[in-house]
């Protein structure tokens, strides 16, 4: 079937700032009408109740609140450009972002793909106002005033490569835009489409036109099919829907509001008059849409009509509807019109109707039509088989169809037939018994302030959903809310807990700081595998119970070890059994934990760029690096453990708080003692005969150096191991190592392996030679690996690394930090890694049934910046006094901490000339306040400069700094990355490069 799914939507209409509020308004039959706001035009000055020439008969209408507010920083639009943009462009851009999120698709993921953008827009009032004064026409006003740009802006800012066009068929524009989008999807031209419409009343002109044509309602309200209907009340609005072919949407697990079954567009041709409605053309377009939907009129339960509330319009539409839909029905067909709630939103009227129908099919209830209780009986709706909805209509069980009309003044009519979504995936998931598995809820934003704003918004929104299961909500946040540069993550086990934690983070700066990150670059991850001594009874038991991922990999290791051990390492580890401390058991058990934990992390998308293993930890490290197969490593580690176990007792190990060279003399005196490990400049481990170790310990104590005997059964990494070497060498020689897939930092070599193979010889030497951990980890960090994850049953190596103080920006993490560590700790580790810049594979944290997309509260844009230099002078005869044409004063930029935090030198006496000139020039070019420009601000991405502005910037800089030697644009371009880079470039070209006070 040719079915198109409405998978996401967003809107803003009079009295309804978002889709939830819109539905609420509809269900309580509310209205968004009011007086003309003073920032539009001075209504009283063009008002005449009698509607004399050049006047309107009303001071009222239907307006959205504060349409000048725009989060220009979010879209990297410079204030100068934002000021010049038709607010219709800004409103639609924000609506599309939110609609895509609502569809479960982060807009970034659609970048560079053929997504079509189709928008209905007819009002060019902004352009008319901006382009009238030729002297004020700038490079920005052209693009800012064009209707096509409403669509093209979206394509530009979201990098969408499908068709992008504005449709003007007057009041049917947005439904015609939807029709084009549907056809593009059905023809295969695009796989995703955004369709919608926008309408903003900026001048009284159209109101005067309606008044003069006798179509304007004196109270500014549409009263569709009502006996008190007396004309049109104009309305603002913006709406966007995300459309996909139904089969694609279902395959991707997207939720579907409703399905578009068929659409049709026609023209009434040479009818009674250019602007007169035609019953015959309306009937034809209704019938055509039904044909395309393969539906009969009797199947349709309700129709959202064009219903403007003009006497003639209502009459003609009722007759056309009755003719097509009314005949031969058992029950009259329900009708209504959203125009009674929000006025006639003109180019956005079709999308308002579409969103109303989609929400009605989604909620399975059709809102009542305002003014319906005073039905116009002259229309004889009943006899036409129609009934005006005086109260909400609960839709019957099973599939339901609905019709939707939108007619243009010039005779371009559109009709759509919609159906309820397939009945799966609409059920809420009620939280089960007790707490769910811990999951990670994520958010992202363009800056810290935005992040906090969205954390608070989600906290409020989720508080109302606290009885729903948290896992699908968190899963959805991972899919949709992770792509912006500033990141937030929190672990929760229920929606109530999540909402609480979000609210706490929004309110408490310390809490907020812990849960946020702004990864500047992608960290390279290294896995550090823990060695012997870290084992304990029941290690990772809880993780094994709670994480299916870990359990699966642990069982893999168990299976590989079983033939060599003759028993299950799982039983050994998870039983309350002290035998775990025997070398023959401890080594394979640690290997199983290391292998399983490493695979768990890679299963969660955390791929190491390098590995390092401490002593016996090298076996799991070698598997992770692709050097050894699981089976080979299992065989080796089992043999190693059991051969060591079989050695006679009498050996031991002692940890010394001193460097190897400091104690070299004492070791040299003892033929049965060796240095076993160098873990740091003050952390050495000796190994050998017990009496000899004790002699050294006493000598050290005399020198004031701590020496602590370790609880081990044998003298590992010493010559006392020699007796096991022949047999181990025989086993090890059968192993066929491969070259490491990623660098392996060998603790035998104290560096990354080079060309040497990790063959039998290597593993045999590894038994007796010292562990050069400090050298190996030093080189690893020097090679740029800064995100170190310890892989073992408890933290041992990460504390050692911290003591080495190798780098300031080192991040050390442990996915199982405590003895009772489980899924919650794993989730915390994933959250921390996400904040550090890793993009986890979230699937590993969720069971199959929880991986279902749920709608979340859409992105909450900043309301800090306002660009609305209206009212612009009304034509002379009507004009009030000229108003301040400058944009409203802008508060400080919406960036966490502002300039100081970003290292911006506020232009002042001690700032050098070049810096000052550049900051001023960039600010002027972009229309920013100088204090808003930071040295690390990126000229294109953050400040939104374009090529024209680059030229302006060059001229401004050259004028301000006449001492500059000449340079070309081509020379300049490579340096236009950040403001700081530009300053550095200009300094090189400055003949007065020495900083001086300005």
């Amino acid at each position: 079937m040719n079915e198109i799914a409405i998978v996401g939507l967003d809107c803003r209409f009079p009295g309804a700032p978002d889709a939830e509020a819109f539905w609420d308004l509809l269900m309580r039959a509310g209205d968004g009408g009011g007086e003309v706001p003073p920032d539009r035009w001075r209504a009283v000055e063009c008002y005449d109740p009698n509607g004399s020439p050049g006047r309107t008969n009303t001071t009222r209408g239907n307006f959205v609140h504060d349409p000048g507010v725009f989060d220009s920083d979010f879209f990297a639009v410079s204030p100068r450009e934002a000021e010049a943009m038709d607010p219709q462009q800004r409103l639609f851009l924000q609506a599309v972002w939110r609609a895509l999120e609502d569809a479960g698709m982060p807009p970034h993921r659609l970048a560079d793909t053929a997504v079509g953008v189709y928008v209905g827009v007819m009002a060019s009032e902004w352009g008319q106002l901006q382009l009238r004064d030729y002297a004020k026409v700038t490079a920005q006003t052209g693009a800012g005033s064009s209707c096509s740009m409403v669509a093209n802006r979206v394509s530009y800012h979201l990098n969408l490569k499908g068709p992008s066009l504005a449709v003007d068929t007057a009041c049917s524009s947005s439904l015609v835009a939807v029709h084009l989008a549907v056809n593009a999807l059905l023809s295969g031209e695009v796989d995703h489409a955004v369709a919608g419409g926008v309408n903003l009343q900026l001048t009284p002109a159209l109101g005067i036109f309606y008044t003069q044509a006798g179509l304007s309602a004196p109270d500014g309200r549409c009263k569709p099919f009502s006996s008190v209907a007396d004309g049109i009340g104009r309305g603002d609005g913006v709406g966007a829907v995300v459309l996909r072919r139904l089969e694609d949407a279902l395959a991707d697990g997207q939720q579907v509001y409703a399905v578009i079954r068929g659409t049709a567009v026609n023209q009434d041709g040479r009818s009674n008059g250019l602007t007169a409605p035609s019953r015959w053309a309306q009937q034809e377009v209704l019938a055509a849409a039904l044909r395309r939907a393969a539906a009969s009129p009797g199947q349709v339960d309700f129709i959202e009509t064009h219903g403007t509330g003009t006497v003639l319009g209502d009459m003609i539409e009722a007759k056309a509807l009755g003719h097509v839909y009314g005949a031969g029905r058992k029950q009259p067909c329900a009708i209504g019109s959203v125009k009674g709630n929000i006025g006639h939103t003109e180019a956005a009227a079709g999308i308002a109707g579409l969103i109303k129908v989609a929400l009605a099919l989604h909620h399975r209830i059709v809102p009542a039509s305002p003014f319906a209780t005073r039905e116009n009986h002259k229309l004889a709706l009943r006899s036409h088989g129609l009934r005006l909805l005086k109260t909400p209509l609960r839709l019957p069980t099973g599939p339901v169809l609905a019709g939707l009309s939108s007619f243009g003044m010039g005779g371009t009519n559109a009709h759509a037939v919609l159906a309820s979504a397939p009945s799966r995936a609409r059920r809420r998931s009620v939280a089960g018994k007790g707490l769910d598995t811990p999951v990670v809820f994520t958010l992202s934003a363009d800056n810290q302030t935005g992040l906090r704003r969205n954390v608070q918004a989600q906290a409020d929104w989720l508080a109302r959903r606290r009885h729903e299961s948290v896992a699908p909500l968190a899963w959805s946040s991972n899919q949709v809310k992770t792509t912006l540069p500033h990141r937030f993550a929190v672990v929760a086990r229920s929606t109530g807990e999540l909402s609480r934690k979000l609210a706490e983070a929004a309110a408490d700066p310390e809490e907020f700081a812990i849960r946020t990150g702004r990864p500047e670059k992608r960290h390279k991850v290294a896995f550090l595998f823990t060695g012997q001594g870290a084992q304990f009874v029941g290690m990772t038991r809880r993780l094994y119970q709670e994480s299916a991922l870990y359990r699966g990999y642990f069982d893999e290791a168990d299976e590989a070890l079983q033939p060599h051990l003759g028993q299950s390492v799982r039983n050994l580890v998870f039983a309350a059994d002290d035998r775990i401390h025997q070398t023959g058991h401890a080594q394979p058990a640690l290997f199983a934990v290391g292998y399983a934990l490493a695979r768990t992390m890679t299963g969660l998308g955390v791929e190491p760029a390098a590995v390092l293993g401490h002593s016996v930890g090298e076996f799991a490290a070698a598997v992770a690096a692709g050097v050894l197969s699981l089976d080979d490593a299992a065989q080796l580690v089992s043999a190693r453990g059991s051969l060591m176990q079989a050695l006679p007792a009498g050996g031991g190990m002692t940890a010394v708080r001193a460097g190897a060279e400091e104690i070299a003399d004492l070791v040299a005196d003892e033929p049965l003692v060796d240095i076993a490990a160098v873990n740091g400049p003050g952390a050495t481990v000796l190994s050998g005969a017990l009496e000899a170790l004790e002699r050294i310990a006493q000598a050290l104590r005399r020198r004031g150096v701590d020496a602590t005997p370790l609880k081990v059964s044998h003298a590992f990494h010493s010559r006392l191991m020699a007796a096991m070497l022949p047999e181990f060498s025989r086993v090890a020689s059968a192993v066929r190592p491969r070259a490491p897939r990623i660098p392996l930092y060998s603790t035998l070599l104290g560096r990354a392996t080079d060309t040497e193979a990790m063959d039998g010889g290597y593993w045999t030497s590894q038994v007796v030679e010292p562990v050069r951990f400090a050298d190996a980890v030093h080189e690893l960090v020097n090679d740029g690996l800064k995100l170190l994850i310890e892989i073992g049953p408890k933290p041992v190596l990460t504390p050692l690394v911290r003591k080495l103080r190798l780098a300031d920006d080192l991040v050390c993490l442990h996915p199982a930090p405590g003895e009772e560590a489980g899924q919650e700790d794993l989730a915390e580790a994933v959250a921390a890694l996400f904040l550090a810049g890793i993009d986890p594979l979230w699937t590993g944290l969720y069971g199959e049934p929880d991986r279902q997309l749920q709608r979340l509260h859409p992105y909450e844009f900043s309301t800090q910046r306002r660009y609305f230099n209206l009212p612009v002078a009304i034509p002379a005869a009507l004009a009030p006094q000229a108003d301040d044409r400058r944009p409203a004063a802008r508060p400080a930029p919406d960036d966490g901490g502002g300039a100081a935090e970003n290292g911006a030198p506020t232009p002042s006496a001690n700032t050098d000339r070049v810096t000052h000139a550049v900051l001023t020039a960039v600010a002027e070019t972009g229309g920013y306040e100088p204090g808003e420009i930071a040295l690390r601000s990126r000229l294109y991405e953050d400040l939104g400069l374009d090529s024209v502005q680059v030229m302006q910037l060059k001229v401004r800089v050259e004028t301000a700094l006449p001492e500059l030697s000449e340079f070309t644009v081509q020379q300049l371009l490579p340096h236009l990355t950040t403001v700081g880079a530009l300053i550095a470039f200009l300094r090189e070209h400055s003949t007065a490069a020495v900083p001086q006070a300005s």
Binding site: I365, T397, R427, R428
Partner: protein, 340 residues
């Protein structure tokens, strides 16, 4: 009454937290575990209240919504298919809003008729009766019927249990918290359990209540009335007789013989009392479906918990009769089922 036109399509149940065994009660309250085992016969139960913190972890709305969601999921029906909701309970979370409406909210149901029946142990059957009527009358195609109770409000835990007489003590070991739900349909779908007959009859004219649970508001908090009273002697002697009469009345009306009946779902007062009732029914060859020993007396949730167990074993063509007796004002309640 030959052809039923109401069916149970699915059942869902919800119990709060982990089961509390008698040893746990003994440890917590100093009640002799052996006494519970011997005289009450209930082995485990679940409480909405955390026994240590004394905090209420679950409300009736929580449990009923969970049970309803499970039943709905098992039925294969969608939210929009549900035409009405009925909840039977003796212990609503609040007098207003009625708990049934909070359950609707949690399930995402709106714009439909809801009913809450204030009732003791017969509430679940009364809810089934109303659901049966709404569907078999043709008024609705499908509906959700719920029953449940949470006794956190009426069983204060900060008392000295060691000096409490058995007649009072029994309340603390008899009851458990829980909720159950069934999806009632006009067509045989899902579990396809035809609801052949529902019996719901007051028989208490002039009889003293066998059980009384008071409720208190701000004005009479300190009235000193005993919150819970039970006439155990009356219950012990009357309930087995009433239960047997209910079974036979249903069988007579449907023309079923004793041999045709496969299962009986008897009243679930306590493990011991249920044994006595079943013995008195004297239906050899009819399998008993009981749950009280594991769930405790969950009052209006019990029939759904029995139904959930029945669904695991019942086969096509088999017949079952469920019985509930409300000893407060002596209400006979029962229902007859046949798997089609």
């Amino acid at each position: 009454m030959a052809d039923a036109n109401a069916y149970i399509a699915a059942v869902g149940t919800a119990l709060p937290g982990a089961p509390i065994d008698n040893q746990r009660l003994a440890d917590r309250f100093g009640i002799d575990a052996n006494w519970i085992e011997v005289f009450i016969g209930t082995r485990t139960r679940h409480f909405a209240l955390d026994l240590d913190s004394k905090e209420q972890q679950y409300t009736l709305a929580d449990l009923a919504a969970q049970a309803g969601a499970k039943a709905l999921a098992a039925s294969g029906l969608e939210l929009e298919d549900i035409g009405f909701i009925v909840l039977g309970t003796a212990t609503p979370d609040a007098l207003m809003p009625a708990t049934v409406n909070l359950v609707a909210d949690r399930l995402g149901l709106d714009h439909l008729p809801t009913y809450q029946l204030q009732s003791g142990c017969a509430g679940a059957v009364q809810a089934l009766d109303l659901g049966y009527s709404l569907v078999s009358s043709g008024l609705h195609r499908n509906g959700l019927v719920l029953g449940g109770d949470v006794c956190a409000k009426i069983l204060p835990l900060d008392q000295d249990f060691t000096t409490m007489p058995p007649s009072e003590l029994v309340n603390f070991v008899l009851f458990g918290d829980g909720a159950g739900a069934a999806v009632i349909t006009s067509e045989p779908v899902g579990a396809r359990l035809a609801l052949r007959r529902v019996l719901n009859r007051l028989t208490g004219l002039g009889r003293e209540p066998g059980q009384t649970v008071e409720w208190f508001g701000v004005a009479d908090l300190d009235s000193g009335r005993q919150p819970i009273r039970e006439d155990y002697k009356a219950i012990e002697s009357a309930v087995p007789v009433m239960a047997r009469e209910i079974v036979w009345e249903l069988m007579d009306e449907l023309g079923w013989s004793e041999d045709e009946l496969d299962y009986v779902l008897p009243p679930q007062l306590s493990g011991r009392m249920t044994e006595r009732i079943v013995a008195h029914m004297d239906l050899p060859g009819v399998a008993e479906v009981s749950c009280v020993a594991e769930t405790g007396n969950t009052s209006n949730a019990l029939p759904f918990m029995q139904l959930a167990r029945l669904l695991e074993v019942v086969e096509q063509g088999q017949k079952a009769i469920g019985v509930a007796v409300e000893s407060s004002k002596w209400i006979k309640a029962g229902y007859a089922l046949e798997k089609v």
